[in-house]
Symmetry: C3
Subunit: 245 residues, 3 copies
Amino acid sequence: MVDVILNGEILKTVSKAMVSLVSEARFHFKDEGLHSRAVDPANVAMVIVDVPTSSFESYHVDGEFVAGVDVNRIFDISKSIRSDERVELTVVDETSLMIKFGSVRYSVSLIDPSAIRKEPRVPQIDLPAKIVMDAGEFRKAIMAADKISDHVVFRTNSEGFFIEAEGDVDRITFHLTEAELAEFNGMEARSMFSLEYLKEFVKIASPGDVLTIRLGNDYPGRMIFEVAAGKVKVEYILAPRIEAE
Amino acid sequence: MVDVILNGEILKTVSKAMVSLVSEARFHFKDEGLHSRAVDPANVAMVIVDVPTSSFESYHVDGEFVAGVDVNRIFDISKSIRSDERVELTVVDETSLMIKFGSVRYSVSLIDPSAIRKEPRVPQIDLPAKIVMDAGEFRKAIMAADKISDHVVFRTNSEGFFIEAEGDVDRITFHLTEAELAEFNGMEARSMFSLEYLKEFVKIASPGDVLTIRLGNDYPGRMIFEVAAGKVKVEYILAPRIEAE
Amino acid sequence: MVDVILNGEILKTVSKAMVSLVSEARFHFKDEGLHSRAVDPANVAMVIVDVPTSSFESYHVDGEFVAGVDVNRIFDISKSIRSDERVELTVVDETSLMIKFGSVRYSVSLIDPSAIRKEPRVPQIDLPAKIVMDAGEFRKAIMAADKISDHVVFRTNSEGFFIEAEGDVDRITFHLTEAELAEFNGMEARSMFSLEYLKEFVKIASPGDVLTIRLGNDYPGRMIFEVAAGKVKVEYILAPRIEAE
């Protein structure tokens, strides 16, 4: 039903992205590639993962197959796979997923997809500000902000993009000017987000990865990461937090 | 009574091997070299360590000397020794062992050997299957199996050597064909072992080390590791677990 | 009021040195450079830190400025700074210290200096023995001694410098002859010190750093570390412990 070959980094990235929000998910093996999306139990964030067929070494799927996956388990297994290792995923009957790498063969039971929480519709939201930047820099800013606060303000204006967090006795500002950003459309925006989520999101990011952020005013933000050497697209949509004036 | 010089890696390996099963042991400084063996308190496993005189930089022992050693303590000290460091072991009177390396000199009290549990006789068991393989590969398989179960099946047949573990929802198979093994005599065997022990045993193993496994049917298994650049031989004999049908 | 530029390693070292004894301290920005000193709450040890202006990339201070600093906070922030990163410290009004590196700007509230414990006078003590040695070697000896005891004896005689610790069943001696020391004036001395303090002190030391030790008989010891490529001088003065005969 499914027989695909990919490198370890892709599987590691996909499972890390999904496990940041859910413990079970539907993996859609489609004509265009692998797709998965889910909303966290608190309905605060959505993750959307896409791996086009061109990112696979080989990709054979009979029609479309939907696998109900124990994401924690896959994430766990992926930790023992090297990034440059060749991994084969096979589904022969509907009950189990086979993961082969080196001399190792894992067989993981699949979950009935209908037993997994219904997938979200991807919201169509119009977000004025657009920033394109290095995902590694973003990760550093989030990790630093997380040390002093539990929420962070993203804002843009003519001076560029600001990430700001405030602790009891200190404040951190991360500032990139238009010249330091890969792209910025100059639009003003300002929203506050929870660092509890953001610090999970950035775990997939490495220096050199491209991150596109779309931002509005007290509105959900979109963060689109192109990771694993551009082979995996992970989009996060995160609800804003209310700023107390 | 004893004055020997060896490199740090040997001492680190010997103490790591012994500490996997016991906290006290007899170290025999003999004409042929250093020998130690012990059975764990639960009588499930035996360890036999041999370091021939040729593995020492210098080896002077008056007759044979039996040192009662606090293995935990030696293991602890060995952690602060570099693998390539020159270490001198001396016993002047019967009460203490001196360990010298760099500018450091440790003096560790010896234990009266008669106060240490009697040493086991090494069992003469005939085990049909013989496998020779890379100890690093074996280590990887054991560590992976340990993530999903607390026991593992070793089996051989005409297709090669299999290590199999089964979790609640998943199963891992590690398979090496005859071509992938350094040596295999083609004999069939099958026994189940506890991962609690195996995961301790493999701590001494590095890629490139040679491991010889002898296996029977529901019978103890023997694992002979040649480690520390071949300078130390560590043999483990492990009782099987009963497979529930 | 203050606007200075230094490399990350200096800030990391200064905060690590101070945080070993206190959580708040006065940072004096003087004509000659940055100076800070403090005594721990138990009055057992003193730390004196000096960074001459020549160690800064740029150094602009209007007269002298005394900043009351939350040392824990600065230490925390310094962990996210790379050693080779350029850091700018600015104080504009008396209420906050700005720390800039890369795209990050931290603003940390200052503490009213008069609310911080009065600074100690540096004692004038005459200590006969003088030893100059590699700080990394000293660190290794202290870490090893700390594994078996909570106090250590420093002693010197015609054979050189000894660091000795005694555990319940073992003893460690660290011995450097005059030839192995960078400098030794041959004077005899012997004092016992608490490892609880020493193990904190050595955290700033790396191999290649120069350490000068001054020692008397049952008298406080002085340890002067030249660290961060010689750019920071950290002196510790430590009260002796009484040796039970």
